[in-house]
Structures are given as C-alpha cells and as structure tokens.
Symmetry: C2
Subunit: 276 residues, 2 copies
C-alpha cells in the first residue's frame, strides 16, 4: 500500500496543489439551502461543492468546527461528506487541530482514522509536544491505507506571532516546531507541517529548513497570500505543498446569486491554474 | 449575574477544589455496562458517576475525545451528560483543547457555550495566539451566565518540555503564555490557565507570576502529583485552583468489581479531604 505522502504526490501531480477547504458557514450558504434543516443544508452544500470542484483539485479539507456547531447531527453530516469525498477519489484532511495526549489523543486518532470519520489525514496542535502527535501516527500507521498528520508550525493568522515568533535558544519557536516535525517525519514518515502563505519569507526559510516535509499552506486567496508567495513551498521537482483555499473557492458569490455554482467552478479552475 | 470566576469561588468554597474528569473509556467501564450500546454505556456511566461524586466535588470536566470517538451519537451523549451535570448544580468544563481562529473559533465557542453543549467553561490551546482565545471570550461574555476559558500553559505530560520549556527571550515559553493569560484575564476576566501538578516548582513559580489567575491543575493522583504539590496553586484566602482527577476517581476498580460504586465514592471522598 502507498504511504500517505505517496498518495499526496500522486494526487498533486494529477490535479495540482489546490486543496479546497469545506467550511460550511450556515449564514453564507446559497439561499436555496435555507429551506433545509441546518444539518441537511451543510451536508448537501458540501456534497454539491465536491461535485463542482472535482475536476480541479485532489484534496479537500472539511473544517470540523462548522459541523461541531450543529451537534451530533452535524458530526453525522461530516461523516457523510468525508465518505463521499473518498468515494469520489479525493484525499481528505480533517481540520480539527486536535491536541491532547496519551489515551485521549488515541481516542481522537481513532475517531479521525477509524470508522467514525475515516479521514486520510488530520491537523494537530503540537503545543503539548511529541505526546500530542505520536498517538495519531501510531493509529494512522495501522490503518489501510496509511494516514497522515499535519502539525501546526507557523499559522497564517495575524496574532500567531505572539508565541510562534518568540526567539527561543537562537531561533524562533516556529523553527523549533518545524525542525521537530522534520525529525518525526524522518523517523516515522507522513508528518507534514501547516505553514501559512501570509509570511512568504518564513515560508521560504522553512522550506529550506525542512526540505523533505509536506506543507499544508493556508492563507492563500481570501487571507492575502498570492500564488507567487506559496510557490516557495513547492519542491523543485513538483509536489511538496498543498495549498488551501476555503472562502475563495467555496463562497465567491452572494447568497442570492443564481449563478453561484458557476462561480465555484470558475474559482476552483482559476485557483488550479494559478497554483500550477 | 455572577462572573465565571465568582461561580468557581462559590463552588470551591462549598465543595473544595476537586474537579472530577469524566473520561468514559469504553474498555474500562464496569462490566455491567457491556450489555448496552457503546453510546448508551458511556452516557449512563457518566450519569451514574455524577450521582456518586455529587457530595464531594463541585466541578466536572467531560473529556470530548471519548465522546467524539463514538461519532454523532457520542456527542449527543456528551450533551446529555453536560445538561444533567448542570441540573445537578455542577460547574462544567468541556475539555476539548480546541485551538482555531476567527469565525472557526467562534463556531467552536458557539458549540461549547450555545445550545449544543452549554458548558460553563472550555479548555483551549493558545499556540495560535490571542486570536485562538478571543472568540471564546466574546461568545462567553454574551452567554448567561458568563462562561470561562482555560488556556493550556504548562501541561502535565512527560513530553510537554519539548516546546513549553524552551528558553525564549529570557524565560521559558510557558511563562510567556502564563503572562499573556494573566493579561487577558486582567483585561477581559474569566481566563484561567491549565498548569500540571507534575512540576511543583513550576506550579509555584507560575502562581507567583500570575497571582490573580484561576488554575486548572491536571496530573493529581494517577499522574503522580500529590495533594501537597497542588496546594502551591491555591490562593492563601482559599480558591485559585481546581484540581482534576480522572482515572483516580472514576476508575479505582477492576471492571468485574461488584463494589465499584463504593470505590468511586471512597475515592472522591478521599480526594476531597486530601485537597482541602
């Protein structure tokens, strides 16, 4: 069976690095979904988006928070969306940024990679150290096919500098975290790094610091990172990064726009072309 | 209406600082729960534990991971457990360690504090900066009664040193995070800190560094912190810390032990007495 990284390589070589973030914000959904219950609305909207973007991207990233907001039914919708995404051949990244340890982290990992959601990869928060990452690797290795983990390193939000850019023993905190991710990836495989597009110089620095690690790059498009900025994350041979766009692809219209499906298609097509 | 901190003060003065962690690990439940579905088993077990520990503690902390593991039904069980805990007069802390930003964090906060779970407080991961904390404060302030947030500062797991103890601009990373929590608490109120019992010297250092902040102290009991260790976190006038015990109170027996309920009662009574 291929590793998670090998599956990413195959997918990116076929579709390019675009990853579409599925953030079903109930108050931004096209008006026609208003007649459905909130759970049905976000589920059907996500399934529609999967159809619309299928030709233009190989990876989708459901954001757990917007499903969690709707309680148990929301999580069942997330399950349906993940299952259908897999059936359509997408690589799926569950964006939950979970961060806990020991048997608690194992429970999160079994939820993410087991029958509950069966995602191909998850995002995790490494503040608690390797203990917060290892259980995901252990559970992910036993799954078929093998699963991946993306640890937060340098995030794209304005306030991220507060801790991530502290100078710690000669280098910024984010650099320590990146190098740890590099070691874990070297030792165990399939550990990637979340590195925002909004700091191009740091993106370049980190690409050089951990040349072998896959990057998941948020912040392209709506958050201000340009296609030129994110290309610093690519490997010269192709691959090396997947670039997420959520609002830019999923909500490039007003709620009452009758052409909203066409606008999603155009946004995905444009992003795919820009990022290649 | 009282603030979250005022409610903690009232609860701790009445019951002492013990917080019982509800970690319903399906494979550790008393044998009699085996005949139920996993969702029914964890729900009924937690409700039973709430009854058993009611006289000995004022705060309970459901661990989201063990509910998440059972998918949508698990989250509905968590809702039931949180509702009943509130009805019985417990202060509830939802231990999800969520960590995201902007509208995504708002969705997590609305799930935690709104109709989905309606918890009194949540744990959050501050690696992404103030952006990861502020949406919880904003949503929590609008709720009735006001809600609280506990940010991870110095966790009790062995691997936590890797990043948390890096020396950054003259002091350890955990100290930077603690001082930020102190500022947020000063400016907005109801921001506490998670600080493990397993590093008594650091617990004492942090108590001095942020004297006004409520601490949520894990690591007491099964993880090795003693009652003497955790008392360094208390305010001289009483209050200032709640001390979590999960396994020590919830699983002090073998699965086939017919006296398991009595053992839970005894463990809770003993922990309450030790921590006073």
């Amino acid at each position: 069976m291929p590793t998670f990284s090998e599956r990413l390589t195959e997918t990116v070589s076929r579709y390019g690095p675009l990853c579409v973030g599925l953030d079903p914000r109930i108050d931004m959904l096209p008006r026609e979904y208003e007649e459905l219950s909130p759970v049905d609305a976000i589920e059907r909207f996500c399934l529609k988006v999967l159809d619309l973007v299928r030709p233009y991207c190989g990876v989708v990233k459901p954001q757990a928070a917007f499903f969690e907001l709707l309680g148990g039914g929301g999580f069942e919708a997330m399950d349906t969306v993940l299952k259908l995404a897999r059936e359509k051949g997408f690589v799926t990244i569950l964006d939950g940024k979970r961060g806990d340890i020991a048997s608690t982290a194992t429970a999160y990992a079994e939820a993410a990679f087991g029958p509950t959601w069966d995602a191909d990869a998850v995002t995790v928060n490494p503040y608690m150290g390797y203990d917060a990452v290892e259980p995901f690797l252990a559970v992910g290795r036993k799954a078929t096919p093998a699963r991946g983990v993306f640890a937060l390193v340098r995030t794209s939000n304005p306030g991220s500098r507060l801790f991530q850019n502290l100078q710690c023993e000669g280098k910024p905190l984010y650099r320590h975290v990146a190098e740890a991710v590099g070691e874990w990836n070297h030792a165990y495989g399939d550990v990637g790094a979340v590195i925002g597009a909004t700091n191009p110089a740091e993106l370049k620095e980190l690409r050089a610091a951990v040349p072998d690690v896959w990057f998941l790059v948020p912040g392209y498009g709506a958050q201000g990172g340009t296609a030129a900025d994110v290309k610093a994350a690519y490997w010269p041979s192709g691959g090396g990064a997947i670039v997420n766009s959520s609002r830019g692809v999923v909500f490039p219209y007003h709620r009452d726009d009758p052409d909203w499906e066409l606008k999603v298609i155009n946004a995905a097509m444009k992003a795919q072309a820009e990022l290649k």
